[in-house]
Homo-oligomer: 257 residues x 2
Amino acid sequence: MQVPPTHYPSRMTGSNSSGTASYRRLDVARRRAQLIRAALGLFAHRAPEDVSLDDVAVAAEVSRPLVYRYFPGGKTQLYEAALGSAVAELTQCFAVPEEGPLTRRLAGALDRYLAFVDEHDAGFSALLRSGSVVATSRTGAIVDEVRRSAAGHILAHLRVPEPGVRLRMAVRTWITAVEGASLTWLDEGKQPAVEELRDWLVDHFVALLLATAARDAQTARVAAAALALEPADGAVASLARRTVALLTEAEHLLPAP
Amino acid sequence: MQVPPTHYPSRMTGSNSSGTASYRRLDVARRRAQLIRAALGLFAHRAPEDVSLDDVAVAAEVSRPLVYRYFPGGKTQLYEAALGSAVAELTQCFAVPEEGPLTRRLAGALDRYLAFVDEHDAGFSALLRSGSVVATSRTGAIVDEVRRSAAGHILAHLRVPEPGVRLRMAVRTWITAVEGASLTWLDEGKQPAVEELRDWLVDHFVALLLATAARDAQTARVAAAALALEPADGAVASLARRTVALLTEAEHLLPAP
């Protein structure tokens, strides 16, 4: 068997296959991934309805027929594949090791999530904004699956196999809040800095967990276990001290020590 | 000029106008409102794409041609009119008097908001779920306008004419959280009771405001002013005491008094 030459003769013949032969060295999976990456790059700065297969071909430096060969369903199929790839990445965000203080794990997960938001930008907005052309009932279901997965991860970190309605609601509400804050952050031209946003979202989680714990015995147990793991010089200790200082100023609200 | 008889002769003639004459006594605005009310009643329990003009005619006890006469644009026009009516109601929720403790005002606003969610149920979900058939870019823009209006009202209650990015983000994030919690509440079969949900959402606001205050001087000033108005036996005092008790159990997090 002969090793194929670097320059394929077919490059010189037939307009249909022109430009495609030199790509044969890339296997199907890699080629698919390359096209998806190119599409995601475009979706990041333009609403998906403004991205054509031609644009993807140009961005990936391949012919339009090649894009069609890999995605015979056209734009919709490419978009769904890109979505699937994005979802796989998002779903991994909250899969952090179950060790160390909870706030450190959350910060790690948020670092990955916010890097995704930062990178995909307009594409992220278009996906989540109700009524955007790209948001179909299918994409809606896929995004819901990401939310469910994130909630499952967080409840696993909290070591709650059977969460009650109040704890479930707290976790799901925080996830919605993270999405909302991410969209606002994009609207605000990515202000404040991403590290501050991350720390604020962690504080938000702690604040919401404690507010829920004040009404629900299960959440109180979970919160106590989580607090026990937090270091004395960590985020929760700092938040606790600053909040108690604020409450103490309004001295009628807290009993004298 | 002769007063028209109560029973119109036209009821007996011509199939096109049959059944419509007796409705002439209702003026246009009242008739329109009646049809919108009937439509909202249907949207409350079925996704709008499953509601036909026939259904609206049956629910309002009028003829189908009458529904078309008022809404010649068909289903879309009726849906948008119903949406406009719902939005007018939602926008009024946060227009509560600027007096008394902030948490009492928020609770009042949430009572109205949650009554709307409770009443419109499936219609509320369909409107907010990204990718639902009824969510178009136009409805998306309308819903965004409600969010903006709610944020404006809350910032007015906080007496902040020029909110910085952190305070804006806290308020907008809480509004997203309220929406998310409302959808979860519907998913959970309206558990817990609506009064508990309302109080929890108020606690959530306070917790988020304090967590933000810990990082932002403007929010700290706003929070201090708001705390000063809260009664010693109110929601904030109770939340503060229960939270400090939880934090004190993890004694390494709070300095000894």
